[in-house]
Chain length 168, copies 3
């Protein structure tokens, strides 16, 4: 089962994904895409860590998402990727020339991987169109990624105020 | 019946809440959290006032929300709080040190209050993550408040283009 | 059949609308409201053009939307307006004094027009309230337009990650 969980800032999307991972009954591998670039981000990462069960395996991987999924995916594993938004940001800022191919690879490879994979991502496209070009570019890339992943995921869920809406 | 009505800017969330208040058949008490700090806000307040029935009782309360609810709640009252977003803004700007406790109190007290209470609040977390720290903090606080209130409300409704979506 | 299709940036709303137009089985007339003011916009327009069937008739009309609809609407036509957001922007920047009347006309005239008409529009109101007055004004106008159109449309659809949610 492949699932995409979308939600706005502090919508409860990570908690929802963590609950889905627990409900899978499989061994959970948590792929954190965040890098603690500043104090605020370090705090956000720590906040997320405290909420997760201790026995989950943690892999920190800001860039090589598809390769990590290929290495870790197994029938009895549930891999939780939190979150795609930061992976996209990491790629856009540090490896822009590889972004399009990386997204293509992820979407191509995903349906062939065994076990459960849950992606968490921020819904960022429903506000006013941002004035700065990088934010606009990011919105475009995030929207495209969500559309492409939604096609190949078995379930797509939107989280609003901690409540789940099934989109697919 | 406790209800949380979420919606974006000019989504029709206030009109929806006002209709739900009328439909309750109870005596409506309107708690306005807005303070007319500038001309634009004064205009927005007046615009809302013109739409409301004259016989509704109006209480203007920018800060002491839980206390006002405790004083006014009664089995034959329907209290309409419009809106939580401005209450949160008022608290964040003027009484930040009391914010966490105030939210905790509201969520703790709400299930024990008699009668109907309807909260209106802005969905603000589905756009690009804001660049300035205060807006980001506000997004976080609003998201947390919505999650916590959604847990203890009987109904949660999202308004888009004036149309109601039942979330709970 | 009149339909309003809402969605965030790169949500797949245009592609959804184009599919609905094809599914109508009628002759499709595409009303483009965009004007290629800069290179980025020119690219976006070209991107949209490449995705559309060649035999669709194209009308470029940044301002006189209602009049164009009145001229083109026919029982065997499906008119696709992509998008209302840019029409609103065009009016707000160039013909602000006519905006209110133009919206009123559109909403009044629409139910009387024959055939199918599909409107595409950006959902922009679910992020943080914008700091600059023009963006705030735009959010207000877009929200009001969506509410008014939703009232007179037979179907309202929200697109998220390329997936359709029926709102009406």
């Amino acid at each position: 089962m492949k699932e995409l969980i979308l939600g706005g800032a502090r919508s409860g999307k990570s908690r929802t994904a963590e609950q889905h991972a627990i409900d899978s009954g499989k061994q959970v591998i948590y792929i954190a895409t965040a890098t603690a670039g500043d104090d605020e981000m370090a705090q956000r990462i720590e906040h997320h860590q405290q909420q997760r069960p201790d026995h989950w395996r943690l892999i920190e991987e800001p860039f090589a998402l598809t390769q990590t999924l290929q290495q870790q995916a197994a029938e009895d594993h549930c891999i939780l990727v939190d979150c795609l938004t930061l992976w996209l940001t990491n790629m856009l800022i540090n490896k822009e020339s590889e972004l399009a191919l990386s997204v293509f690879e992820l979407v191509e490879v995903l349906p062939m991987l065994p076990g459960d994979i849950i992606f968490v991502s921020n819904e960022v496209g429903n506000g006013i169109v941002p004035a700065d070009p990088l934010s606009r570019r990011f919105c475009d890339e995030a929207g495209r990624l969500h559309q492409n992943l939604a096609q190949v995921c078995d379930r797509v869920t939107l989280v609003i105020a901690g409540l789940e809406q099934s989109l697919k």
